[in-house]
């Protein structure tokens, strides 16, 4: 294999992982932008999405149906948690953050309790490997990237072009004024939780198509999602997507050039560096909702 082939392949590998991370980061960034709540349990939402996919595929359902089930199940979970827990912590986002820490512990171990802590995997939904020049391209990775691009494009379209999107952006910008303009901000908060959770569910389904997952996969993934959201600027969706690309390429490179044991360190190091140099992220974000105080 030529050096350039390895190079292209590593970028592709990096991008497929970056896709999953970007899906988490969008949810993280939207929820933070609107509520100020740092939801660390978002990685567990992703993990549950993967587990639902695994259960569905194990039960004999096809992968596409399993993905839909994962999205619905995790979206529903997001709805229940927002209505049952997070809406009571809107006035004190730090409490919301601590609640999410409790949720991490609960969700992880409920999964361990019912389905043991071992790795879970499904047969690859697409097994074709294309050979282009000297580059071997696994179609499943291309599928993950394509689905992510489609979903992200759709979210962009919704957020930039529809009136709901405009109302959402207004609420992120200034919750109180948006409410005065007659925007039902509370309902948007619920909506964003459901949307963010559904994206995490999709991310989990795509992740298990690439790698085996364990009940503890969420921990590292959410940190990467956060790193990306922070690097891009919390509350800034464009930033999250751009930062996701950067991280994916950096991780791909490092895996391809012999520093794979440090792969996990990059997101953290990059995030710390960005926060020190530009506390509002590379592309600027809101610093959370302005609290009525």
């Amino acid at each position: 294999m030529r050096a350039v082939d390895i190079f292209i392949q590593q970028i592709l590998n990096g991008l497929s992982i970056a896709s999953v991370i970007t899906l988490i980061a969008i949810g993280v960034t939207l929820i933070f932008g609107l509520t100020g709540i740092i939801n660390f349990a978002h990685g567990e939402f992703l993990m549950i999405g993967g587990i639902v996919t695994w259960l569905a595929v194990s039960a004999g359902l096809g992968f596409p149906l399993a993905v839909v089930l994962a999205i619905l199940a995790v979206g529903l979970m997001g709805y229940i948690l927002e209505r049952g827990l997070f809406r009571f912590t809107l006035e004190r986002p730090t409490n919301g953050f601590i609640v999410s820490l409790g949720l991490i512990v609960v969700l992880q171990h409920v999964v361990v309790l019912f389905w043991n802590p071992n790795q879970k995997s499904i047969p690859r939904p697409l097994t074709t490997v294309w050979e282009v020049g000297g580059v071997r391209i696994a179609s499943v990775r291309v599928m993950v990237i394509a689905i992510t691009i489609a979903v992200v494009a759709l979210s962009f379209r919704m957020i930039t072009a529809s009136r709901y999107g405009r109302a959402l952006r207004a609420s992120v910008e200034d919750r109180d004024t948006a409410a005065l303009m007659g925007i039902p901000v509370r309902r948007y908060i619920t909506g964003v939780f459901v949307l963010g959770s559904a994206l995490a569910g999709l991310g989990g389904a795509l992740l298990i198509a690439l790698f085996p997952i364990t009940p503890f996969t969420g921990g590292t993934m959410v940190m990467k999602g956060f790193a990306v959201a922070l690097i891009g600027g919390l509350g800034n969706i464009y930033g999250a997507v751009a930062a996701g690309l950067i991280l994916g390429i950096v991780e791909g490179f490092s895996a391809g050039y012999g520093f794979s044991q440090w792969t996990d360190a990059y997101s953290f190091a990059l995030m710390i560096l960005v926060l020190i140099v530009r506390p509002h992220g590379l592309f600027g974000g809101t610093s959370g909702p302005r609290m009525a105080s």
Partner: protein, 343 residues
Amino acid sequence: MKDGLHQDRAGSTFKALRSLLPVLVILALIALVPLFSPSNRFLSLAISAGINVIALYGLSVLFGQTGILSMGHAALVGVGAYAAAILARDFGVGFWAALPAAALASAAFAMIVGIPSLRVGGHHFVIMTFAFGQLLAIVLTNGGDYTGAATGLDLAGPVTLFGADMSDLTRYYLMVVAFVTAAAVASWAIINSSYGRTLRAIRENEKLAASLGINVGRHKIGAFVVSGVFAGISGVLLAYFLGHISPSQFSSFPSIYLALMVMIGGARLIEGPLAGGILVAFLPEVLNLDPVQSRIVYGVCLIAVIMLLPDGLIGGIVRALRAVLSGKPKQETEQRNAAEARR
């Protein structure tokens, strides 16, 4: 205003001493436990709980007094533990000399983490501490022979005090109780000093504190460094107790459990860390739960405490008792809030 403070001082010192008394009584009772010849399992659990409690007292200064939460606290404990293990291996440094060295190492690490983390402030601090915690675990895992990689390091030094071997479980237990007492007294002294008042001013209103000439950034880092000292000492005790340490013990998820303990106990009261550490350690024993179930219970407890009893379990119980005793819950709450602001 200043005169008022001075007149108040004698009275408040007495009150402050009274607030320390229950903890000292409880600790004295705990020190008597070996008389009832407890099982080794009980002593081991109690020692682990005590070691956590020492770190929790540091965390209570940071979170309870200053109002900033560290999600990387296990990393600070880890720095202390690794410092003790590496000093013992490379320089033959024993337990007592390792204590100040490890405390210093953890404090220095806290400062290295604290300066950039607190600069970004607010929400981001929590995430930064979490990220530094993860980074430390990765660095320790990739540290090769120096840090023992993923398997970690062994530590086989005896702990002696005035020539007596302290490695025996009962003696180690008593020593940990003594350390917990020292940690409680130190934390109490900080709470009741003018330094503690400064930290609380920052907690209550950062901008107002800054406008009074308090250097908010420096004091926040200071509080983090102080909590690092507690964590370092706790790390040395842990390393010598277990005889073996590995990176996974100090990654970010142990940090979540530390934060959970301090939340369950309540960070602002002097009884809080003690209660949190003991409850979390012994709850699974009492309820006869396996580790998985007990963690679910912890998580649910944490959520319940945050939603229903923001002062922590002990704070909630104290408030409920006072409300029942006086029969005037509303007035009590107001008084309590006033007392809280002073504390």
